[in-house]
């Protein structure tokens, strides 16, 4: 029988290796899978490529990953946290900056088997012309730039070709979930969660409430369980866990 519930985040997330590409749901702290992110930190995973809309404004969640020096590359639209930029300009983290709607669509496309699509967003800007600095050298010089996008005109208007994102793993947070992996979100905490879940080759969902199969009516499910591999309960302690001081790296 299908039972995707796992009691222990640490053992569930153990297969995620250092260096993995991980898509994460949430918009700031709203809808962010803090329990799963904490487990990733407690497992001491490093060199991660994290895909998330924004870092948030403190050292919880993605901020903790950052503070502990676990992120190699961030793909995001709005990093926010000033400490992130210190790391970026110092050459310790790469930043792939993507328009928010393009990021959402790329995650969906990856999960939907669409390898690439055209969008007008960002056409003719430095985020698509190959000039935006992906990363810096330790001496502050640009080490690498984001790849230029193919441009193509449709109906007389410039568009860029963007690729679907398939992440090795996805970490998302839902309000309710059942043992088949069906998820329901609450208000604007939905945001990137369904899309990150679709994008993951293997997807972990942190839920506030584990409900019996059938408690969520078929029409009330926001994301069907076929996109979710394991379901874990959110720990109430998560948001209050302190960040471990930044490691050397």
């Amino acid at each position: 029988m299908i039972d995707k519930f796992r009691a222990d985040p640490m053992s569930a997330l153990a297969p995620i290796p250092s260096g993995a590409c991980v898509a994460v749901g949430g918009f700031g702290s709203s809808g962010r899978p803090d329990t799963l992110l904490d487990a990733l930190c407690d497992l001491d995973r490093r060199g991660l490529h994290v895909i998330v809309n924004n870092v948030g404004s403190d050292f919880t969640g993605i901020g903790r990953l950052l503070a502990e020096g676990r992120i190699r590359r961030l793909t995001a639209s709005f990093p926010v946290l000033p400490d992130f930029y210190d790391e970026y300009f110092a050459g310790r983290v790469e930043l792939e900056l993507i328009p928010q709607g393009t990021l959402a669509e790329r995650l969906r496309a990856g999960g939907a088997g669409i390898p690439a699509f055209y969008t007008p967003s960002g056409a003719g800007t430095m985020l698509t012309d190959g000039t935006f600095p992906l990363g810096y050298d330790p001496d502050g010089q640009v080490a690498e730039r984001m790849q230029a996008r193919e441009h193509r005109s449709f109906s007389g208007r410039e568009h860029v070709l963007e690729y679907g994102i398939v992440a090795d793993f996805a970490l998302v947070k839902a309000h309710k979930g059942d043992r088949k992996g069906n998820l329901r979100f609450r208000l604007s905490a939905r945001n990137f969660n369904p899309l990150a879940a679709m994008s993951g080759r293997y997807t972990f969902a942190e839920v506030e409430h584990l409900v019996a199969a059938g408690d969520l009516a078929p029409d009330d499910i926001h994301l069907p369980g076929v996109f979710v591999d394991e379901v874990l309960l959110r720990s109430e302690l998560s948001p209050r866990q302190p960040a471990i001081p930044r490691s050397g790296s």
Binding site: I2, G111, F227
Partner: protein, 234 residues
């Protein structure tokens, strides 16, 4: 292959037995789409300890048995537009998300009827020239599902092989079929190479060979492909 050999009765599995043989290969937790015909017979043979999520193109994940008489709900049909039910824990999605499941590789197996399968895994199942063309979700299913299992009679009504070197009917997809289940045999396809892995009870490898028009490796030692196998021409 001679016409005499192809049309002679050689025993083999009934339609129900083909469905049962295929059902035995489904694993717990699989997400599966079933086409019309023999594939629709599969659910009744799924072992009780195996839970399979049935996907219907029109957006059902967790399709149940057909609706009983008098219990039909016009808002709940299968992909063949027949009154349907859902299992506990089912989810409904729109058609775009339904095919995101398919194309995105979240469907473990699609089980489809076939007009022809080529030795490289090409599938023809959507259109007989001269008849009425309709494709439905077939091209998405074969392009997206992790495994494409073709289910069919080994030869057509005229006794002609349906496993062929090159499909003569219009293709549904190229290099997509991963297994073929017929009344006479089971084949696997990997890396463009067809392998005969199993003959139906009472059916000889020679009978299969006589009725198959594509080259294949005979690999009957084990369904895992552990046997060495020798290249045969159909």
């Amino acid at each position: 292959m001679t016409e005499t050999a192809a049309t002679a009765a050689v025993g083999g599995r009934s339609r129900e037995a083909i469905a049962q043989r295929l059902a035995a290969d489904l694993r717990d937790g699989y997400v599966v789409n079933l086409g019309v015909g023999i594939p629709l017979l599969v659910p009744r043979f799924i072992p009780p300890d195996v839970e399979v999520i049935l996907h219907a193109e029109n957006g059902v994940l967790g399709l149940g048995p057909p609706a009983a008489d008098g219990q039909e709900d016009p808002d709940l049909t299968d992909a063949g537009k027949q009154p349907a039910t859902v299992i506990t824990g089912a989810a409904i999605v729109d058609s775009a998300l339904s095919f995101a499941v398919v194309r995105g590789g979240h469907l473990d197996v699609t089980v489809l009827g076939a007009l022809q399968v080529s030795g490289r895994g090409d599938l023809a199942n959507w259109y007989v020239p001269g008849r009425n063309p309709a494709v439905g979700g077939a091209m998405d299913l074969v392009a997206g599902a992790r495994e494409v299992w073709a289910v069919m009679e080994h030869v057509d009504r005229a006794g002609q092989p349906k496993i062929v070197e090159r499909c003569t009917f219009p293709l549904t997809g190229r290099h997509v079929v991963t297994r073929v289940y017929t009344d006479l045999a089971v084949f696997h396809v990997a890396d463009g190479q067809l392998r005969l892995t199993e003959c139906a009870p009472g059916v000889s490898p020679a009978a299969v060979r006589d009725r198959t028009a594509a080259p294949y490796i005979e690999d009957l030692a084990g369904r895992d492909g552990s046997g060495a196998g020798a290249l045969r021409r159909g």
